[in-house]
Amino acid sequence: MFNETVLKEIEDIRAKYPDRRSALLPSLYIAQREFGWLSHEAMQFVARTLNLPEAEVRGTASFYAMFRHKPVGRNLIQLCTNVSCMILGSEALLGFLNKRYGVEPGGTSGDGRFSLVIMECIGACGTAPAMLVNTDFYDNLTEQRIEEILEKYK
């Protein structure tokens, strides 16, 4: 089960809303932070903490693209390939990521260093192509720039 600190954190979130169910998305984020991904066990904890049916928790969690349902690598690359990024070459960067780091969309590199997810517009169209690495934001991407950026993420 969640530790006392996490339970207190969820309790504080619940207090901000008229109904406890509103704490579901924030609690899923917390579970993801604690476990790295939303395992069956993690979702059970959320269900128990909020007194919601497990099926409802799973159903809601699986609707949203940013909740992860399998383990991810130590660092998560979220690359945008929507139209503005595509026009400026983001699809070629996918090929580069695969060649250089051995990571494919939806997958994790063999050494567990990177997982890659394709994003549907991250609101950086004016400085495309763009990506998030964990929660850090990078834009004006080129192959060389990606290589420099990812040096920081081991």
């Binding site: 998305l25 609707f63 940013m66 549907e120 517009c121 169209c125």
Partner: protein
């Protein structure tokens, strides 16, 4: 033009409350609390302000409906789920001018008789979340939010709710479902959110940019505000330009600025000396426009007349080297991914469209595929709960209307003619 929305953002500390106060920030809230809520409502009506999220509904009218409902409490939700591809206009407000939004929401809460507001922020903006949370804390400390705002006995609390990567949650009833802790699937209307929204209570959902106009409207008055822009679409508008231009970015310009001026005067024209081919003028859901339409004014009425829409004011510029089939395919892949699955025509139709577009782009297009695209799009349009399906259908119809020849050539040549 005096900047209202992007005022002071060149100051590297613009997100700090003291910097905001230095340039007159929170003066409008103070002024507002010395006015009657209905006086402010009149100013909002006079201003002609229309929603900046895409639909363009008159803000004063939406507010009147909510005010007319005697049910209490009421909730004010700020739609910061900026997910329309090509759109990045709310981001500078959220990241660099958060107190403008907070002040706008505190004023709106007072007018609407709401004591609780929430900012529904997209999950893809983690930095904005930190900035907003810090700004809300500062506003509480200075008594611009809380139980007794500026000692006037007015109560308004604000919290950030983080979305988790679902475009559909930008639709107001899906947003409400999401903040209630559910899948973001749109609700049937009526009842409208102004009568039965979040937690079954009257709820006003307004876009970040819409709410950020409030401090100026209170400060200068609705009439002064309406002097910018034109008769049907007043005020300043944030236009965000991306794609094949020299100087992409967010520009605060009067409503009704021509598409040509936005592209050539403000965004620096087309990159690498290439020729302009097409523009998506209002975010990915807005039907594409060909070159001969760019003298059109960017406002709600003119864009609709031109066969597209102002939408979020997100201008995606494409030059002669961009393949329209590829753009259409990528756009539909997006809609397929983001369809919430509630309505069959959208859920199944977007998948069909994507498959047909994929084979055309890959050189496997069949005779009759173009007609089939039209037919499938026609079977989505107008047959779904929310506008997501209409958006997908509109993209295909717009592309076929203006660039049908490219689709035909792909089928005839059995390959992408741009590769």
């Amino acid at each position: 033009m005096e900047k209202i929305l992007l005022k002071n953002i060149d100051n590297p500390n613009s997100a700090d409350i003291n910097e905001y106060i230095k340039v007159g920030g929170y003066g409008s809230l103070s002024k507002a609390l010395n006015m009657q809520p209905k006086e402010i409502l009149e100013e909002v009506k006079k201003s002609g302000l229309r929603g900046r999220g895409g639909a363009g509904f008159p803000t004063g009218m939406k507010w009147s409906f909510a005010i007319a409902d005697p049910t209490f409490p009421k909730y004010l939700l700020c739609n910061a789920d900026e997910g329309e591809p090509g759109t990045f206009k709310d981001r500078p407000i959220l990241e660099k001018n958060p107190h403008l939004l907070i002040e706008g929401m505190a004023i709106s809460g007072y007018v609407l008789g709401s004591e609780s507001g929430y900012v529904y922020l997209r999950g893809e903006y983690p930095y904005a979340k930190d900035v907003l949370n810090k700004a809300i804390k500062q506003a509480h400390e200075k008594n611009y939010l809380g139980d007794n705002i500026l000692g006037k006995g007015i109560r308004f609390h604000l919290a950030v709710y983080q979305g988790a990567g679902a475009y559909i949650c930008g639709e107001e009833t899906a947003l409400i479902e999401s903040i209630e802790g559910r899948k973001g699937q749109p609700r049937n209307k009526p009842p409208f959110p102004v009568n039965a929204g979040a937690w079954g209570l009257p709820t006003i959902v307004n876009n970040v940019e819409t709410l950020s106009n409030l401090p100026y409207i209170v400060e200068a008055g609705g009439e002064a505000y309406s002097k910018t822009g034109n008769k049907d679409s007043s005020g300043p508008k944030l236009f965000c330009v991306s794609g094949c231009v020299n100087n992409p970015g967010v520009f605060e310009l009067p409503m009704g600025t021509s598409l040509r001026d936005i592209i050539y005067k403000h965004a620096g024209g087309i990159k690498d000396g290439k020729k302009l081919k097409a523009v998506i003028p209002g975010g990915l859901s807005a039907p594409v426009l060909p070159v001969d339409s760019i003298d059109c004014a960017m406002d709600f009425v003119s864009m609709s007349k031109a066969g597209s829409m102002l939408g979020s004011g997100a201008v995606i510029v494409m030059d002669e080297s961009v393949c329209m089939v590829r753009v259409t395919h990528r756009a539909i892949k997006f809609f397929e991914h983001e369809s919430c699955g509630k309505c069959v025509p959208c859920r199944e139709g977007t998948e069909w469209l994507r498959k047909i577009l994929e084979r055309i782009e890959n050189g496997n297009g069949r005779e009759g595929d173009i007609e089939l695209l039209s037919e499938v799009a026609g079977n989505i349009s107008g047959k779904t709960f929310c506008p997501l399906g209409d958006g997908a259908a509109g993209v295909v119809m717009g592309m076929l209307k203006h660039f049908r020849n490219e689709f035909e050539e792909h089928v005839k040549e059995r390959k992408c003619i741009f590769s």
